[in-house]
């Protein structure tokens, strides 16, 4: 095999990227190198640079999903045209991330989302992978529409399909199942399902950071406050140690902190993550973030906190000292806009209803407030 000649300016970017750890800066550099290589007609270098972005874990964190979409679209394009030169098998694992992220964008129509899952399923089977991932992604899709019961009904088929190299890891699958059960209100079952994770026997790159966050709600609903506090502490620290993606994962912890009296924690998390939250792109993330934060800040206002010191963020926090009520209203307005967009696409009221019920999620909060204040 002969060595490929790469344009020096592209090579310099690739070399620089090699020096960097897995981070947004590295992805941006690789993206520039890929675009430049493409301009020079060097498709092989453009392909390998894009594959490196797809392999990087940081490209899967919420603010940068768009990069992932662009990369994968380009890679499937050249792979479909020349499958021997650009093998699709190296893209399939990343396709799952895109399939999970796509429903978060209200602009992607529902039929297109259904076809993405069909396409993933087809490509997996064509490449000799199994169908377990396809079932899983279809359940996730229906869950994202709020059709949790429908997703649950697919579970027997999913679970009876053998695991294969395209399946998510055990920790991720169990984590998703517990999330589904939480959304169906089956709190005890959700906690039982997640036991291997809460007891530290199962973990992966994404678990338990995310799992602990959504298990707080069932624990509080069941009045198991001590367990909730323990998961809160463990999860909050895990998320804080993340380089990327902390902004979206921190939301349930921030919400819990505000309602359970960890006011200082809540404010610190708000100061750190609010500037990143404004760059979140997906409607799902923006609904979750601004909805929960809006309700949490409103609760702080009711608890007697009238102003907050926050970094100035255009359109959201114009002065460094901001009134809690005004901030809550701004956040809730943002959340509502995105929730409505998602519901319009989904053809139901799932997200708007979800927003409306946020304030009632922690019915015991005021009672626990005094006991837990730090």
């Amino acid at each position: 095999m002969s060595a490929r000649l790469v344009d020096p300016s592209v090579q310099a970017m690739l070399d620089e990227a090699r020096m960097l750890p897995d981070c947004a800066a590295r992805d941006a550099l690789l993206h520039r190198a890929a675009s430049a290589a493409e301009t020079f007609g060097d498709l092989d270098t453009a392909w390998s640079a894009r594959c490196r972005i797809l392999e990087s874990t940081s490209s899967h964190s919420a603010p940068r999903f768009e990069t992932l979409f662009l990369c994968l679209a380009w890679c499937f394009g050249v792979s479909d045209a020349e499958p021997d030169r650009f093998p699709a098998s190296s893209l399939l694992w990343q396709y799952k991330w895109v399939t999970t992220a796509a429903p978060e964008y209200a602009s992607i129509p529902r039929p297109v989302l259904e076809r993405i899952v069909d396409d993933l399923d087809d490509r997996f089977v064509k490449n000799g992978w199994g169908r377990r991932a396809g079932f899983h992604k279809r359940m996730e899709l229906w869950s994202s529409f709020g059709e949790h019961q429908r997703a649950l009904e697919l579970m027997p088929q999913w679970r009876s399909t053998p695991r294969d190299r395209g399946s998510d890891c055990n920790a991720c699958e169990i984590s998703y199942t517990s999330w589904l059960l939480v959304n169906l209100g089956q709190d005890e079952e959700a906690l039982r399902e997640a036991r291997p994770i809460t007891r530290g026997r199962l973990s992966c790159a994404a678990v338990p950071h995310s799992t602990f966050g959504w298990l707080l709600l069932p624990l509080v609903r069941l009045g198991r406050f001590d367990e909730a506090e323990s998961l809160y502490e463990r999860g909050r620290r895990l998320v804080a140690s993340l380089d990327d993606g902390a902004c979206t994962l921190i939301v349930p912890y921030l919400f819990h902190a505000a309602f359970m009296g960890h006011v200082e924690h809540a404010l610190t998390m708000l100061r750190i993550h609010m500037p990143h939250a404004v760059s979140l792109k997906s409607d799902w993330d923006r609904t979750n973030w601004f909805g929960r934060i809006g309700v949490a800040v409103e609760f702080l206002h009711q608890s007697g906190i009238e102003t907050l010191d926050l970094p100035r963020i255009g359109g959201l926090v114009e002065e460094s000292e901001v009134g809690t009520l005004a901030l809550a209203h701004r956040c809730l307005a943002i959340a509502r806009k995105h929730a409505e967009a998602l519901d319009q696409r989904n053809g139901n009221h799932y997200n708007v209803n979800r927003l409306a019920s946020l304030a009632q999620l922690y019915p015991n909060a005021k009672r626990k407030n005094g006991e837990h204040r730090t």
Partner: protein, 608 residues
């Protein structure tokens, strides 16, 4: 019913001898290690005993094979010990001793280097038979014993009564036909030096009358930090570079001591070479997890007295001990940077000059370090380099471009307008500035692109002068998704500026990707495109202060004016370093052709 596992002895020997280690090189380490441990054990009963390990090589010749004798004057073995330790795979005199002194293990494995009882088997990688002749120093009248072990798992033992052998052990190896390279004088010396040079017990390689001592005068972790020249030399010798800074590392969790050296060039994590020793014996150049991944700018030479090694002794056992040790090493490196920052700015500047990216990356990762360093970090701006601290003390708003391309497009023009725009496109710069906003809520950080620049420029005082030109330009560029604006901006030599916001750039990129992507993906990309109402307009901004623009505005020939606008449009794209489409290139060519034709006709008219 409980039953016992059965063991295939040949398989076990084959595993330990041929598959446990990454290379036959390690047999040298294993034999030296056993010899040093024997001397350590003898010192327990005779503290004044110095001890020496000799590797005596006899080179083969016509019809004879090379042999190697590893001799020590250590504790030696009695007959029962030979059966127990040499003939029992996994049996080690040192493990029992180490376990007896369990309370000391964490600090110093009882002073022994090995403990698994499998090291001697590594000799089967280079020799079909291992012969050990030994005499115990524990009993004055102990008889000498000979043990012969073979790779097929058989062995024989015979006593050597009346042997004049002194207390100690000699191991004899004869080169396998395909392993003669390990019985080469230079190779043996190199390997012995690599593994044993930091040991305190003397190790000698002898070939005939020639004897070479392998040990260095002083192990690095025993050197004084004031001995800068010696440490520089050590770094060059051990790690292959002249360091730009040196500092001591101490990590009590792993019983680790030694030095860190700041590299004079950038390198990446996987290429980073370090040296780890365990009780003076070399372990590896690449110990996964020893040094934090972000610390690519340092190389370390360290000795551990407590970290647990893997069975092959070529790596460190991963676990909480190593995690704690790595954290301590990381803390020591950060502490050094902070020390330099506060006390030795020249050295700090030198380190930053080489490892700017890595140190900025560290500042993003480590909040405490960020707080210390952010004010001192320099940033590239359209009005020159500035330290963040200097800027924030005098300004309330910071404008930053998000990509280097955006910065390149606007920096000269922003500078001419006296606007300071930060280049956030450099690696970590935008992230650092965003984090700085968290730290300094009084400072507003605003993303800035070429569309924002247009908003800063005034409209001309004589708009009527450009009325016709504006109408022509709108008509000429209709269908190109580009609005026309007339503004006054510096420098006057720039007749037109193409303003494209970040969203619009993303849109262009989507379009480019769509030309490659297939059916379903095109629909996804279409759906992801920014909504038209959210896009800031793409604008060709003509400069009313430019003589050229005024001249074009004065043309009465509508076709000529139209052609000039088309050429200006492409020129603005080119000066903004936007990639030209085939259509845009064709527009430039036809425009130039029409202008030249017009000129030729005019000249012909003038000549008549």
């Amino acid at each position: 019913m409980s039953e016992r596992f059965k063991v295939d002895l040949r398989g076990i020997i084959d595993l330990a001898a041929n598959h446990l280690y990454t290379s036959p090189d390690v047999f040298v380490r294993e034999v030296i290690q056993n010899a040093v441990d024997a001397i350590t054990a003898r010192r327990r009963i005779d503290p004044s005993h110095q001890g020496v390990v000799r590797l005596e090589l006899t080179l083969g010749g016509e019809g004879s094979k090379s042999t190697l004798c590893i001799a020590d004057d250590g504790i030696g073995l009695t007959v029962p010990e030979v059966h127990d330790f040499l003939s029992t795979v996994g049996g080690s005199s040192k493990r029992e001793d180490a376990e007896k002194t369990a309370e000391r293990v964490a600090e110093d494995q009882g002073g022994f280097l090995g403990r698994f009882g499998i090291g001697l088997l590594s000799c089967f990688m280079v020799s079909d038979e291992i012969v050990v002749v030994t005499r115990s120093a524990r009993e004055p009248d102990a008889v000498a014993v000979e043990w012969r072990g073979r790779a097929n798992g058989s062995y024989s033992v015979r006593e050597l009564p009346g042997s004049p052998l002194r207390a100690g052990t000699s191991v004899y190896l004869e080169a396998k036909p395909d392993q003669e390279e390990y019985f080469d004088q230079q190779r043996l010396q190199d390997l012995a030096r690599q593994y044993a040079e930091m040991l305190s017990t003397r190790v000698v390689v002898a070939v005939g009358a020639e004897e070479v001592t392998m040990n260095r005068a002083c192990a690095p972790w025993e050197m004084q930090s004031t001995d800068e020249v010696a440490l520089q030399d050590l770094c060059e010798y051990s790690l292959g570079f002249r360091p730009i800074d040196i500092f001591r590392i101490s990590a009590p969790s792993g019983g680790v001591e030694g030095y860190a050296f700041v590299r004079p060039n950038r390198t990446n994590a996987w290429a980073s070479v370090h040296k780890l020793y365990s009780n003076g014996m070399f372990v590896s150049e690449h110990v996964h997890g020893l040094v934090p991944r972000w610390a690519t700018f340092v190389g370390v030479v360290l000795n551990t007295r407590a970290l647990r090694l893997t069975a092959s002794r070529e790596s460190v056992h991963q676990g909480p001990e190593l995690d704690a040790c790595r954290d301590e090493i990381g803390a020591a490196i950060r502490a050094r940077l902070v020390h330099l920052l506060r006390n030795d700015r020249n050295v700090f500047e030198t380190v930053m000059g080489v490892h700017d990216t890595e140190i900025r990356g560290l500042a993003i990762k480590e909040r405490d370090f960020f707080e210390l360093i952010i004010d001192l970090l320099e940033f590239d701006t359209s009005l020159g380099t500035i330290r963040f601290g200097e800027f924030r003390r005098e300004h309330e708003r910071l404008l930053v471009t998000r990509t280097p391309e955006q910065y390149r497009r606007i920096s000269a023009i922003a500078a001419a307008a006296g606007v300071r725009v930060f280049n956030g496109g450099y690696i970590y710069h935008e992230e650092l500035l965003s984090r700085a906003a968290e730290r300094h809520p009084e400072l507003e950080i605003r993303s800035f692109d070429s569309s924002d620049l247009v908003e800063l420029w005034p409209e001309p005082e004589d708009p009527a002068t450009f009325q016709d030109l504006m109408a022509t330009a709108r008509s000429a560029l209709e269908g190109r998704g580009c609005e026309i604006a007339m503004r006054v901006f510096a420098p006057a030599e720039v007749p037109a500026f193409f303003a494209l916001g970040l969203d619009a750039e993303f849109h262009r990129e989507l379009d480019r990707t769509k030309s490659v992507a297939s059916g379903l993906w095109n629909e996804i990309l279409d759906a992801m495109a920014p909504r038209p109402e959210s896009l800031r307009p793409t604008r060709l901004c003509l400069n009313a202060g430019s003589r050229l623009v005024r001249q074009i505005a004065s043309f009465r020939d509508a076709d000529l004016q139209r052609t000039a606008v088309e050429v200006l449009y492409v020129q603005a794209l080119m000066s903004g370093q936007h990639a030209l489409s085939a259509q845009e290139l064709a527009l430039l060519n036809s425009g130039m052709e029409r202008l030249l034709t017009h000129l030729a006709v005019q000249r012909a008219g003038d000549a008549q």
